[in-house]
Symmetry: none
Amino acid sequence: MCPKKHIPSAVKDPKLIETRRQQIVAAAVNLFVEKGFHGTTTREIARESGLSIGALYEYVESKEDVLYLVCDNIHTTLETRLRRTLTEAGNARESLRSAIRQYLYVMDDMQDDVLLIYQESKSLPLEALHFVLGKEEQITGIFADILRRGIEDGSLRLDPGAVTLMAHNIIVLGQMWAFRRWALQRHYTLEEYIRVQTSLLLNELMSPDETDDTDTQVKKEEGEAVRGN
Amino acid sequence: MCPKKHIPSAVKDPKLIETRRQQIVAAAVNLFVEKGFHGTTTREIARESGLSIGALYEYVESKEDVLYLVCDNIHTTLETRLRRTLTEAGNARESLRSAIRQYLYVMDDMQDDVLLIYQESKSLPLEALHFVLGKEEQITGIFADILRRGIEDGSLRLDPGAVTLMAHNIIVLGQMWAFRRWALQRHYTLEEYIRVQTSLLLNELMSPDETDDTDTQVKKEEGEAVRGN
Amino acid sequence: MCPKKHIPSAVKDPKLIETRRQQIVAAAVNLFVEKGFHGTTTREIARESGLSIGALYEYVESKEDVLYLVCDNIHTTLETRLRRTLTEAGNARESLRSAIRQYLYVMDDMQDDVLLIYQESKSLPLEALHFVLGKEEQITGIFADILRRGIEDGSLRLDPGAVTLMAHNIIVLGQMWAFRRWALQRHYTLEEYIRVQTSLLLNELMSPDETDDTDTQVKKEEGEAVRGN
Amino acid sequence: MCPKKHIPSAVKDPKLIETRRQQIVAAAVNLFVEKGFHGTTTREIARESGLSIGALYEYVESKEDVLYLVCDNIHTTLETRLRRTLTEAGNARESLRSAIRQYLYVMDDMQDDVLLIYQESKSLPLEALHFVLGKEEQITGIFADILRRGIEDGSLRLDPGAVTLMAHNIIVLGQMWAFRRWALQRHYTLEEYIRVQTSLLLNELMSPDETDDTDTQVKKEEGEAVRGN
DNA sequence: CATGAATGAGCATTCATTCAT
DNA sequence: CATGAATGAATGCTCATTCAT
């Protein structure tokens, strides 16, 4: 998959390490989401993990390690869920359309976690940050691959030099659904968001002849609401 | 402009308040950018401001107030610089193209500040956060206005219900240049980024007949480099 | 006198720093003597100093700083008290005899402090340790000076190359009264100790013709006691 | 030899106890010398001993027990090595001269261990400390015995009441070579130190008629160096 | 208005020791 | 006998905020 930062543990049994770290991550995600990294104490993490503070530090060397574990876990979950939905059926254009939809479903579901990474990863030590960004890039690569397939099979017209950028655009599409939810989710439902963004992205917006009507149309009230801010 | 949160001060003279708060913000931006909100102490802010801690607390009620002041200041600067470049000359499509370019210039210049808002605004008390988000929405409104003008003058084909979303897309376009710089700025120069993103956005990408070649084409090496990662 | 390590303080008024540090040292000496450096907590030091823990750290940067302050204070006291008793009256031999006597009085009085330095100075950071050893050497120099005067005025016969060593011997003479008190003070009174050590040192022991009888003779019971262990 | 503190063990086999404790002591000496008693953790002791912490605590009841074991071991080694070199050949004066020389050789070799006892024995529980001091006294007795023999055979002129003191002086002579090495070993080689101290002690210093020249004379450069500080 | 000394709750982390397996 | 995971009291230190001068 992707190289992971090795976090030393005083405990020898790898099985146990895995189990305990899962407890820790499960507890920490919730706490970090709720109160932020700096607002959460190690004791809270320990308590919620069902570990003593001493035990916590047997599986982790610092609070920052917990943050890394959390970020990595979120990314892994994200990637796993995303890859699970990928199909090679049909041309790449259809694959992309489907992948975007699935990606946005996942992002909608993991909003808090996405936010967490975006707001707290700066607290990671440099080395750990690199690993996290590496993972981020890898996930971006999923879309880059589809885009390249689309260029090859002719279903997508895109300058090869713009592939990376486009892939990042798609990723950001999902992230903004989370970190601008205070605005977006007031105006659009997830389905609307998916529909419109996909259209814009797949360039159907400006080529009405290729557009299927149900796709681009936004509900009336929505159109009104938008003007209201 | 936009309603601002009133921050009480023990000092009467409004002129003085204004001056001192400017000192405070100037000092705090640098510190927050460099060390983050939590990594900066009030003493450091005071020292860099040329004030005593006692004096600092005469102009501000809490460290969070400083953060609010900083965020508000960044947003105000951003908006001012952006509005200064807006022209009504030509059709809206050309206005938009120009606005995006100018916006990206500003965002490139203010990368650190943009990052600051994105990573630290979660530390604001709820009320202050609302003011900050309000400002954000207002800036988004600048682009929404242009888009609406484009619909009216026919230079932009866009479903009215998608205006808000498109405006957010544009804003995020600029923000991602900052918060994904670890990837984007490794692959693209600012000019390339502006060119490609504008093309994608203005839908020239998929309609090569409308495209001006120099605009969509990315330098060969870039194309290679992209595949390389 | 002797260069001192500068210990930064958050407080500006030098008078206040002096006062507070004196409080701190006064409290810490007792605590360190009683419970050792590691056995004493910073909170105890603060409490006994009449300061809050926060205030303590305004005058000191670490617990080790307190230790340095304590060591330096002890050395300074020692040196001051020692120098106060020095006389140039008579020949150097008589000066030395008197100086040793006074030195041992002081050492007897400061036993606990001497012990403290000997047992805890290893906990000092390297730099601070150098300052402490420098001070120690300077005190040794007091006796070296007298010895040199003795060589010059002919009242002491000593190879110049042995001056330093002899000076260290004298210093250690006083220190061992403290750190071997569990044995020495069971067998000898201070006066006896002074008398015998001075005799041995001034070489009267083996030259009975120069010896004044009352000086070398140790009380009968003492002689017995010695054999008893 | 000397009564030793009994340290309870959960293990029955005395052979095994002996072996394991030797492992423990060997590891702990190095660690204590390097990092001090308080700076060494029980886990480190266990690891270096090749034992698990669990096992460590089967052979020892506390960290302080390890310290006692270490101190006792050092003292035992010291005494053994010292006694091995003792000869009854010649008069006591010559025995003493030789014993001092051998003693200083051993002390030079065991500097770190000597320092260890001097700096850390204060961390021993009272009872253990008494045993350690007892051993120290016993070693001192070695020299007391020689001194007494010297009084009897007339080769040493010494007030019987000063025997104990003189014995302590000799012991301290060796110890100071270790704990004042920062000064002494900068000025003198071991051989010079032995020569001069022996001379001073054997009272040849002030009676040049009895002195053998090579013995009291300190190398010219040394003499200079001494004045230089 | 300005100063800066004082406060003390709060935090991350350590480590000797235990005990179930 | 051996193992090593678990415990949690204890510690050094920080820092936002206050308030007497």
